[in-house]
């Protein structure tokens, strides 16, 4: 035996060269060991350790993800399963005069066609129930669904929705949220106003604050509409069984709310609805409410078969929620030594065609808009406005990235004008343990100064740029 072989034997290294025999545990996938010379760790793997908290434990679902064995909706199939497609409006604002589905129904392979008029309670939404499952009388944005088809293949379903003829009477659309706030602007939903929610935070006396300020900074900031772009699109399978019980497999972040919403739209007791949340291939706020699920359930009821619906990438953009564009007016008064004395904020959120999570976004954006700073005098007002665009809703940060862009940009403007280092001016104003927030809440476990210091040290902020 050569020296090298002896070393290998001593280290219990075995080369895995043989093919797997039937005796091998077949549940384990055939994969080549990652490393032919495994390094034996001195301590057990993080997942095996006690004191579990603080361990860098690898994910319990990591192996399945790594091997491509995680089952998403699109990997699932049931005997006799049909495929659904939804007809999209393609017009931003219009009254529906008629929907003719006869040609689609006549197409061989089409098993069921559904329109908004057949949905028991055709509205849903987490705050206000202003969104139809499928539009019946009016469309509010171009990505609205107006009819749905279930067919034996996706291609037939696609062909069928192209055969559905919808007659529209165009209505004047409105796209600019600022114009939409005017009294004479076309109204998207309500007869009175397009402003559907407001929020106000008032603390101290802003007039007094501005009078006491040495410098006043006034700027307008704006942000864009953004899609979540999850790798996995919105997808679900609905199975209405012969006992009248519905099972829905869905890629959704909130199953408890989803069941309540589906029970409401279908006018069914909750005990007859089962939602199974599958592994979600990215949510970021985009899958926090139902979308096509009630339509799939009704198609399944009509066809007597399970029905799968998977949104295309285009539908992900045009027919699901997005991040709010916000127009942000900031007026801030500071003293000569860089202390913020007063801040006035006005936010206008483009709410799109439906409320979705706009009310929550409005509230969080408004509360957070003054920034993590001790400011005695604050006035923050926020408005969210209907427009005939894709609905805006929950997206990672609920308005916070937008207002952070505004308050931190202005912070640097103030620092530059007063010739104070940007780190220093933040440290002078930042919250500390026990600070009072703009809503008068006494804050605990506050580490904003620590985070500034830690980041600056690691970045080597104090050293001149290379």
């Amino acid at each position: 035996m050569s020296d090298e072989e002896k070393v290998l034997e001593r280290e219990h290294v075995q080369f895995d060269t043989e093919l797997r025999s039937p005796e091998d545990d077949l549940r384990l996938p055939a994969v080549v060991p990652r490393d032919p010379f495994p390094i034996e760790p001195l301590v057990p793997e993080a997942r095996q350790q006690t004191r579990a908290v603080g361990q860098r434990a690898t994910r319990q679902d990591g192996r399945l993800h790594g091997l491509g064995q995680t089952k998403y909706i699109d990997d699932m199939s049931f005997p006799g399963m049909l495929y659904a497609k939804i007809k999209r409006a393609g017009i931003a604002s219009a009254r529906i005069k008629s929907i003719d589905t006869s040609a689609a129904e006549a197409l061989p392979g089409v098993m069921a066609v559904l329109t908004g008029a057949e949905i028991p309670v055709n509205s849903f939404g987490p705050s206000f129930q202003d969104q139809p499952v499928l539009c019946a009388d009016q469309v509010f944005h171009a990505g609205d669904g107006v009819a749905a088809v279930a067919a034996v293949t996706e291609q037939i379903a696609e062909e069928a929705i192209n055969k559905i003829v919808v007659e529209y009477e165009p209505l004047p659309p409105i796209f600019d949220p600022v114009v939409a706030m005017n009294d004479d602007a076309p109204k998207v939903h309500a007869p009175d106003s397009n402003i559907y929610a407001t929020k106000k935070i008032r603390k101290g006396d802003i007039d007094k604050g501005f009078a006491e300020s040495d410098h006043i900074f006034e700027q307008r900031f704006s942000t864009q509409m953004i899609e979540h772009v999850s790798l996995e699109p919105h997808a679900a399978i609905a199975d209405w069984d012969a006992n009248g019980r519905i099972t829905i497999w869905a890629t959704i972040g909130r199953i408890t709310l989803a069941r309540a919403d589906i029970a409401r739209t279908l006018n069914m007791p909750m005990s007859r609805i089962r939602i199974i949340g599958t592994v979600v291939g990215g949510n970021f706020g985009g899958k926090n409410e139902i979308s096509q699920e009630p339509a799939l359930a009704l198609l399944s009821k009509k066809a007597g078969r399970p029905v799968k619906g998977v949104f295309t990438r285009v539908e992900e953009f045009t027919s699901t929620t997005t991040r709010h564009p916000i127009i942000m007016d900031y007026k801030t008064g500071v003293s000569n030594d860089g202390k913020i004395i007063v801040r006035k904020v006005r936010l206008v959120l483009d709410g799109g065609a439906y409320c979705s999570w706009s009310e929550t976004t409005l509230g969080k954006a408004c509360i957070l808009s003054p920034g993590p700073y001790n400011i005695e005098n604050v006035l923050a007002e926020a408005f969210v406005v209907y427009t005939n665009k894709t609905m805006t809703g929950a997206m990672r940060g609920f308005g916070a990235p937008q207002v952070c862009f505004a308050y931190e940009s202005q912070m640097d403007e103030i620092a530059a004008k007063l010739a104070i280092d940007p780190l220093e001016i933040r440290l002078r104003n930042a919250f500390h343990e026990g600070s009072s927030s703009p809503t008068g809440q006494q804050l605990h476990s506050v580490v904003v100064k620590e985070s500034l210091q830690v980041a600056a040290d690691r970045f080597r902020w104090q050293e001149p740029a290379k």
């Binding site: 772009v229 709310l257 291939g281 509230g363 990235p401 780190l423 809503t439 830690v454 970045f459």
Partner: protein, 338 residues
């Protein structure tokens, strides 16, 4: 010519819903061999929350992460949960699971007390054992206790609990109140090169220091920070849904809707700020959403530092930056000639 700049941005962000109730309920079952099963109504959305929830249950029961299996997201079998939203899973669902695990653990303590000849209050769960506080050598394997409890005493070790973050309603006129139970804080610093002839931005590095209270799993926190920064980069420099005059979306596809790929990502240095929140499970808060919050602000401040222009509307595309540079040079020219 390429000009280098750096920019800093800090933020605060709340955990859970604004005032509104957002409860989580959970059930923890300790098996007869000392492993455990957690039932939760929350959903794994890719962030690794089920692993974190397993770690919380394991910590409360004194066992390892691998000893816990988490069953999630089935309205027929799992308890109610407000879901994977508002950065609330670790904090709210985690608290519910910790309470449920403690309830199951108390049943084990009652079974172990006569085995060890002490009171249940003198016991602790650690290292897969139920042991006497201060006398770790006086211990029984947790599996033996679970077996004794279920098959001899007839008391299966199962616990259920729920938790909802405490809030105080906001005054409708002034907004004064306690809308959230707790907040997290973070700072990100970006370094960029901006080409002042083309307006193009090279994002070189981002240093991120994030607070999440106790980091239940530091590796997953780092993963969240890196993912959040990628969304922040898209918001800062690239992503924008554009509409025609008649409201039809112009770029509803990934060829025209530009978003960051791995090639657009800067070098990222993540630090977890030491913190402990007494209201969270083992001191934890949350980290999901805040990671995407300060990135765009830091990058805009870095662009300003590099070429002296303030971008006030996102995204800061090369065209927008170049236009701003030209405007600022014309302004300077006018001032000189005046």
């Amino acid at each position: 010519m390429k000009r280098r700049g750096r920019g800093i941005a800090c933020m605060w962000y709340p955990i859970g819903f604004t005032v509104a109730a957002n409860p989580s309920a959970a059930t923890v079952k300790v098996n007869e061999d000392g492993t455990a099963v957690v039932l939760t109504g929350t959903v794994e959305t890719g962030q690794g929350s089920l692993t974190v929830l397993a770690q919380i249950a394991a910590e409360a029961l004194g066992i390892a992460t691998d000893d816990v299996h988490v069953v999630s997201a089935d309205t027929d079998t799992t308890p109610m949960d407000t879901g994977a939203i508002a950065s609330r899973t670790t904090y709210v669902t985690g608290n519910a699971i910790a309470l449920a695990a403690e309830a199951a653990r108390d049943i084990l303590f009652n079974a172990a007390a006569p085995m060890l000849g002490v009171k249940p209050s003198q016991l602790e769960a650690y290292d897969r054992k139920i042991q006497v506080k201060g006398f770790p050598q006086h211990a029984v394997a947790i599996g033996d206790v679970a077996h004794q409890s279920q098959f001899v005493l007839g008391q299966p070790a199962i616990g259920s609990a729920s938790w909802n973050p405490p809030t105080v309603a906001m005054d409708p006129e002034t907004g004064q109140g306690k809308p959230f139970s707790t907040y997290v804080y973070a700072t990100q610093i970006a370094e960029v090169d901006v080409d002042d002839e083309t307006g193009e931005v090279d994002l070189l590095r981002i240093t991120a220091a994030h607070d999440c209270g106790t980091a239940i799993n530091p590796m997953l926190v780092e993963g969240q920070v890196e993912g959040g920064i990628s969304m922040g980069v898209g918001m800062a420099l690239q992503e924008e849904m554009l509409f025609r005059e008649d409201g039809i979306h112009v770029n509803p596809n990934l060829t025209n809707y530009i978003m960051p790929t791995s090639l657009d990502m800067p070098e990222i240095d993540v630090d977890i700020v030491q913190g402990f929140d007494p209201t969270g499970p083992f001191g934890a808060k949350g980290v999901g959403e805040p990671t995407a919050v300060p990135t765009a602000a830091a990058i805009m401040n870095a662009i300003h530092d590099a070429v002296g222009v303030r971008i006030t509307s996102l995204p800061a595309t090369a065209e927008k930056i170049l236009m701003a540079i030209k405007d600022s040079r014309e302004q300077a020219q006018k001032q000189i000639s005046a």
